[in-house]
Every structure is written in C-alpha cells, then in structure tokens.
C-alpha cells in the first residue's frame, strides 16, 4: 500500500462505489494553513455535481486536514503525510495523484490556478494522457468549460530527481492580493513613492498590486504583479494609480466590480474600462485621498 496514506482515512473510503461525477481537489497549503484559492477550487468542484474529495499532501497535514474538514462541499479527505512532500514538488506529488486516481477513478481532478496548480496539474494530465484545461472561469457542464484566451473549451516511491532548497516570501501585513477587497496600483517613479500607495491601502485595508513595468524596474517584488502573466484579481474595488492600461494588465483586473483610474493622461486606455476616472497627478490625488479617508 502507499506508505503515504493515512490508514484511518483509507478505511473510511473503501467500498465506495463511484457513480456519476467524482472530483479530486488537490489542496494547496503551507503545512499550516489552507491557501484560500483551494476554497474556490472546492466551490468549482461542487458545481460539477458529484462527490468532492480533497487530497492533502505535505510534511505535516493535521492542521490543514482540520481546516478542510470544516469546508462545506467536501465529502472526503485523503491525507498523504511524508517528508518527501516538502516543498510540494510536482515530481513527488504526481505519482501520488496517479496512484490515487488509479484507486478511485475520479472523473475530474482540479486545483486552483495558482503557481502551485499550474506547476502540478499539466504534469498529472500528461501522465494520464489527457489535455488539461487551464484557468477556467465557468463550468457549463461536466465536460464543457469556459476559459479566457489572448490576454472560451470542452474536454509511489520518492522520485528524488528534484530537491526543494528554499523559499523567499515577501512579508506583508496587508491582505493577500488575490483575495483582497481593494487593490491599489503603480505608475510611480521610484520604489519609495510606492509608500503613497501603501498609505492609501492601509486606510482601506487593501492589498497593493503592481504592473509589470513597476516590477521590472525593481520598485516591488514579482509576486505583486497583476496581469496576464501575473496574478488575476477581481476585487470589489480596484484603484489603478498611474497605470496606462495595457491589454496584458487589463487581463488581470478587468473583472473587478468597480474600477477607479487615477492618471494624468486623459487618453490613457485605462479610462475605457474605469467606472470612475480622475484625470489628475497621482502625487497630489493619492495623498489627498488618504487624508480625506482619515476624517
């Protein structure tokens, strides 16, 4: 038997007949907390209409399993705890998922479209000789999905070939970019000027994002990038400060509920998608907003 499976959870699973749809959601976590995007993946899995199983693999799973057990819509949890799952390497997780699939014959296997999910799922798909579907935004039926293209489709022993060395995570007291309510933005002439956005974001309890230009210029770390190749966000309020509005950037934020643009160039493309536009110098407008919110 797979050394990695928790025997008690296996016992609960034996004898279950798979009928209709059954979905495996691969949980993303840091051995401490479940990543919020996993909750979105579980919601999506529930829409497929079948039984939802969640796989928690890691070096220390107890806390995460407890969190998953409280999530509505999850019928079963599979636990795989082993030191080889350190760093969630796809070379180690893929054989585990394949073995799980062999045993339970899921009709669907999914994960959130984060760096973790994007790294792992195509590897699993190739091993199953199926074409994976990336970043779905809607489930029409169990075999019909909607996804965005151009910035809508149907459908073991440790490997030991890779080694996780370290992670250097950006520390922040602000909300996570992908789950934040409000996102502020760049266009500033230096990293120091980002402080203006942090001050405003603090007043609104918002996360701060950035365009590619700001990241490439070294003003902020890469994980703050919003856009086609960065993070895709859809907050209640998105404030684009000094953002021109390139297609690649719009792809990452155009589904925000309300978009506000502050830019001194009245011709900037961002004004074509903004619900509220303010043509003004951000160095004046942003501090003024922060001050006004103080009252």
């Amino acid at each position: 038997m797979n050394r990695a499976f928790n025997r008690t959870s296996l016992k609960q699973l034996t004898g279950v007949l798979q009928r209709f749809q059954s979905t495996l959601v691969v949980a993303e976590h840091n051995n401490d907390t479940l990543t919020p995007i996993t909750l979105n993946a579980i919601t999506a899995a529930s829409k497929l209409g079948g039984e939802v199983t969640c796989l928690v693999a890691g070096t220390n799973c107890a806390q995460v399993v407890e969190q998953v057990s409280k999530v509505q819509g999850v019928q079963k949890i599979l636990v795989a705890q082993h030191d080889s799952y350190k760093g969630s390497l796809p070379e180690e997780l893929t054989p585990l998922i394949l073995q799980t699939q062999k045993q339970f014959n899921f009709t669907h296997i999914c994960a959130g479209a984060s760096a973790f999910g994007k790294n792992l799922l195509p590897r699993v798909a190739a091993k199953l000789d199926v074409a994976p579907i990336s970043d779905i935004i809607e489930i029409k039926s169990p075999d019909t999905f909607v996804r965005a293209i151009y910035a809508a489709v149907t459908c073991p022993p440790p490997a030991g070939v890779s080694e996780w060395l370290e992670q250097c995570l950006t520390k922040s007291d602000r909300p996570d970019l992908t789950s934040a309510k409000v996102v502020g933005r760049r266009g500033l002439k230096s990293g120091d000027n980002f402080q203006l956005l942090y001050d405003l974001a603090d007043k609104m309890n918002a996360a701060v994002g950035a365009s590619r230009a700001a990241v490439d210029a070294g003003y902020v770390p890469n994980d703050m990038q919003v856009g086609q190749t960065g993070k895709i966000v859809a907050p209640e309020l998105y404030i684009a400060v000094g953002i021109s509005g390139a297609i690649q950037h719009l792809a990452g934020m155009k589904d925000s509920k309300t978009i506000v643009a502050i830019n001194k160039d009245p011709e900037a493309p961002i004004f074509q998608v903004a619900d509220l536009g303010l043509v003004a110098d951000l160095f004046k407008a942003v501090p003024e907003m922060t001050k006004a919110l103080d009252k």
């Binding site: 798909a125 459908c155 992670q167 190749t229």
Partner: protein, 266 residues
C-alpha cells in the same frame, strides 16, 4: 576537484539544449473574434515569436556563450510560417532548427498535449540535456507544455524560472511563485520554463540575420516521430469578453470618494 566532478562538467559542456518556440499574434495587436465565433482573426494580422519563447532562446544562447552547453537546437510546430520564427531564433544565436510541420485542421487543433509529445520525442531523439520553453504562449495562455513535456520524459521540471545556474550535473532554478521566490535544485536532464524576468532577449543584428539564412532547418512530420496529434479537446465557440459600460470622469478627489461611498465600495 574530484575525477567524477570533472566527468560531470565535461558531460554538460557537450550537452544539447532543445528550445521550443511558438509563432503567435504579436502581443501589441488588438485581437478580433471571427463573426462565426469559431476562432480569432489571424489572416493579415502581425505575428511574431511568443515573448516567453524569446526569453527561452536567449537563455539557451547565453548558456552556450558561457560554454556550459555545446549546441542550441530550436523547434517550432506549425505551418510553413513557423519557419520565420525558427529563423528569428537562429538569428539570435541558435545553431540549427527543426520545423515540425503541422497544417490545416491538425494545426487548428494543435494543443499543449500534442506539442509536448513532439517535444518529448525530439528531446530523446536529439539526446538533449535540457529542454527550455517559455512558461506560456500569449495566445492560448495555457501554461502547460513544459510541465507535460517533463512528465512524458519523466524528467524533473523547473517552471517559471527567473534564474538558472549549473551546479555540477544538477541545475539550480529560482522560481517565481505566488508569495515570492523559491529555489529548487533539479537533476539533469530537465525541462525549464522561462518567466519574464529570466533575462532580456537580444535583438538579432542584420549580420546575424544574414548568417541565420545559412543555418540548417530540418523538416519533420509528427508521424516521423511516432506522435499521434489527435486532439482531446473541442473548441465549441470563441466569444468577445463582455464589454464594460463606459464610466464617468470625476473632477475632484472629494467627488470620487463621495461616489465610492454612495456605491458602498468604501
């Protein structure tokens, strides 16, 4: 240095890198969907090399310049026009090209699963030490081919790479992940996918463009490689995204904040 380490280094210096490049609609073009909703308009539209593929080519050429590898072989799958993309890579410094000819309906249905099978077959045939690809194509935005190629070869993968360094017969990869950066050390042979910040691709100079015309491009068909390119997915329709309603311009910060309060956003 020990004898075994010396052997490893020489093995790498004789290694070959396979780079996959894709011809896509230029990133600056505003895409239009065909009236019959079958796909997007590609006829008469400016095409160029996928930006992430340019980064992959640059990295391979840099490795060759540092004498870490011996040869850079560039591969593209598609119709005749894919040759232009291969020529561009040759002008950037790749040594030779392989054009995997896929046309008509097969090309319309060509996806990451089929391309990864082709790349895996070529990696074996060419005895590659590394396969370097872009992390995603900007047309289908799949972000799958590298991972799938690695899976088919049973090689480790270093995706979303922003820094690479050879360490003996292993390769250290700094990866761009959601919370910041992550470093992994993987065995070779391996598959790497390039992120935006891995390097800044060079421009091909005119002399190099002329030289590239003399470099060899082999023509092969998927069947020659024993690859079946039948598709598992069917595109039902392609639609324009919903348009946002035109917004309003406000005059002052106070007006902006008042409207946001009214809308319940703050």
């Amino acid at each position: 240095m020990s004898t075994s380490a010396l052997i490893n280094v020489s093995a790498i210096m004789s290694g070959r890198v396979l780079v996959g490049v894709k011809r896509v609609i230029d990133y600056a073009v505003k895409i239009r969907v065909k009236p019959d909703n079958s796909c997007v308009v590609t006829d008469g539209v400016k095409h160029s090399m996928n930006p992430f593929c340019e980064i992959a080519v640059e990295e391979a050429v840099k490795m060759k310049e540092k004498k870490l590898i011996k040869e850079v072989v560039v591969v593209s799958c598609g119709p005749q026009q894919a040759m232009e993309t291969i020529r561009t890579a040759l002008a950037m410094g790749a040594d030779r090209g392989i054009h995997v000819e896929v046309t008509g309906k097969d090309y319309e249905n060509l996806g990451p699963l089929q391309v990864s099978k082709i790349m895996a077959a070529l990696a074996k045939k060419e005895d590659a030490l590394l396969v370097i690809l872009g992390k995603q194509a900007i047309d289908d935005d799949c972000n799958q081919t590298g991972q799938m190629t690695a899976a088919l070869l049973d090689w480790p993968q270093g995706t979303f790479a922003s820094e690479l360094s050879m360490e003996g017969d292993k390769i250290k990869v700094v990866r761009e992940i959601d919370g910041g950066l992550e470093t992994v050390k993987i065995n070779t042979p391996a598959v790497i996918t390039a992120d935006l910040r891995l390097n800044t691709p060079r421009y091909a100079t005119l002399p190099n463009i002329m030289k590239a015309k003399k470099k060899k491009i082999a023509n092969v068909k998927p069947a020659d490689l024993g690859v079946d390119i039948t598709s598992r997915l069917e595109v039902l329709r392609v639609d324009e995204p919903p348009q946002r309603e035109a917004g309003v311009k406000v005059e002052t910060v106070d007006d902006l904040l008042a409207r946001l309060k009214e809308a319940g956003r703050i």
